[in-house]
Amino acid sequence: MIGFLIQRVLQALMVVIAMSIIVFLGVYAIGNPIDVMIDPASDQALRAALIQRYGFDRPLIEQYFIFMNNMLHGDLGESFIYRLPVLNLILSRLPATLELALTAMLIATCLGIPLGLWAGYKPDSLSAKAIMGFSVLGFSVPSFWVGLLLIMVFAVELGWLPSGGRGPTTQVLGMNLSITSFEGWSHILLPALNLALFKLGLLIRLTRAGTIEVMSSDYVRFARAQGLSEGKVVGLHVLKNISIPIVTVFGLELGSTLAFAVVTETVFNWPGMGKLIIDSITVLDRPVMVAYLILVVFLFVMINLVVDLIYGQLDPRIRVKAAS
């Protein structure tokens, strides 16, 4: 177990290093940020001074090692635009995205798995067909359009919920959160629903496919022959067997929601990380872009590590392989 963990952490480290090179080179190739940052009318001397100050005159390899060295000391650089340490900037936006993404995943899981189980348990019923139809809509309708529709219906026409923003936040464990207050919930509900829709469709289909497969297995037939109630058959035998693909997709979706909730954040004016990165790309705020992308890689690696550990808990046969 410890060996497995060390191996996975080393793997993760390699991925982060590889990504840092790719990101650094990629962002370098975009162009010189000085051209965007300073007034086109300023003179050559000022331009040269700025270039020297940010170290853009040095060889690329040297720039990279300076950047990596700083990163190891916890310094990801300073934003060209905000004049703030990048890490603080990103971390100040992280709680907003985190609570939005987690709420969305919660909605998707709590609705998706039961609906998928039902659709797989009674695949020929009318309700199952309705659920499947809904799931197709869930991941085929563009999310910005659904977002606008939600605002139109619930904020403009019915006036039940606010159309955007985060509402009041309270400080919990050093993070500003909306979900701690009722009014905060009213703000988060629409964007979370919007984000959840795609995942909901995906989870329903995944759960249904797994359920149909497991329901026709010999061990379910054997469980029925033992006289187990249908609830027990589904709750004990089906749920655990279908959970591996569900956990996989859950992990991937959580990562991508954290990193790329940008469309929803824009539509609902949600001050999360997605909006920050889009703003930074438009103004070529290089340190923010690099730091953000590396943070995203780090998040993905961590989530997948957790997912791998959960696999072992869910399926003893995987545990055996990992140990050997």
Partner: protein, 339 residues
């Protein structure tokens, strides 16, 4: 003859298809006494497994029981619905399946699965259920049952898993266990151990077994009585030794002739020509007639059920005359009880 625990009367199971209803089980009747073992023999597609599933009410759509009765201790269980049937399954009548690799849930501990099976019918605490599970494992000859409860199925051998499956079936001391080819996937030495164990359990606990198999050698050494099935019908039945020693139906005779064990080495092994007919287009009259050497003009009409002395029957126009030689055994071992 001791008391009859399971009596199947004229059971009909059909599968609804576009081509019409396929009669997978077509008027099957048999009975099993307490502590007796009935061998239900036939080729693939003869309807023997479907008969087993029908008895437990586990036939899945588009299949359905179209007629007949399954009397368990005199009560017809084909009419039971939903929860009433669930309470019978596992408690009064249980089933063991063919492939022990597939019948236990790979991601749940043996203990978890057994405790669930105990608590499906008995309102007991987890601790009590666990000790009952442990006793059941010990009863089927599993060493160190306490550790086995903590094991996952993949940590056990095929033979062990099948013993676990039998232990689960025995948990509530059912009147009848339907065993659907439970030793087919095991190697011969393990098969022998399991058969001996089953014989012992039948004698000790009084549980009756319906042993579904295509393996005549298994049946000849284990079963008290035999029903030979062909295309959804019982074509011959009677005490195992008599049927094997002197088959009356040409199909049974053909099956027995093609068992290598009793065959002269170095000569060509006789076969039953052709293959099992598709249920979608059965020939009129006797379904076996096209493959039968003894077939005559009468075979285009439904054959009569002929009764012979010694409790034997054959579904045939031209049954084979009985031979009076010593009943021969297909294997050197026999698990039949002395009684």
């Amino acid at each position: 003859m001791n008391e009859v625990v399971l009596r199947v009367k004229n059971l009909q199971t059909q599968f609804q298809t576009r081509a019409g209803a396929l009669k997978a089980v077509d008027g099957v009747s048999f009975e099993v006494g307490r502590g007796r073992i009935l061998g239900l023999v036939g080729e693939s597609g003869s309807g023997k497994s479907v008969t087993g599933y029908s008895i437990l009410g586990l036939v899945e759509p588009p299949g359905r029981i179209a007629g007949g009765e399954v009397l368990l201790n005199g009560k017809d269980i084909t009419r039971l619905k939903g929860d009433a049937m669930r309470q019978v399954r596992g408690a009064q009548i249980a089933m063991v399946f063919q492939d022990p690799m597939m019948t236990l849930n790979p991601v749940l501990k043996i203990g978890t699965q057994m405790i669930a099976a105990v608590r499906a019918h008995a309102r007991v605490s987890r601790r009590a259920a666990r000790s009952r599970a442990r006793d059941a494992l010990a009863k089927v000859g599993i060493p160190s049952p306490e550790e086995r409860l903590e094991a996952y199925p993949h940590q056990l051998s095929g033979g062990m898993r099948q013993r676990v499956a039998i232990a689960i079936a025995l948990l509530h001391s059912p009147a009848v266990i339907i065993a659907d080819e439970p030793t087919t996937a095991l190697d011969v030495s393990i098969q022998g151990q399991i058969l001996a164990e089953v014989r012992r359990l039948a004698d000790e606990t009084g549980t009756a077994f319906v042993w579904v198999t295509h393996d005549l050698a298994v049946v000849s050494s284990l079963a008290d009585d035999i029903c030979v099935m062909y295309a959804g019908r019982v074509v011959e039945s009677g005490p195992a030794a008599d049927v094997i020693g002197s088959p009356r139906h040409p199909y049974t005779a053909g099956l027995l002739a093609s068992v290598p064990a009793e065959h002269e080495p170095g000569t060509k092994l006789p076969q039953v020509p052709g293959s099992t007919p598709s249920l979608a287009n059965l020939p009129p009259g006797c379904a076996f007639a096209p493959r039968c050497a003894k077939a005559g003009p009468a075979c285009t009409t439904t054959p009569p059920l002929q009764q012979f002395e010694g409790g034997r029957t054959a579904l045939c126009h031209y049954p084979i005359e009985p031979v009076s030689c010593q009943p021969l055994s297909l294997t050197s071992t026999t698990y039949r009880s002395a009684s």
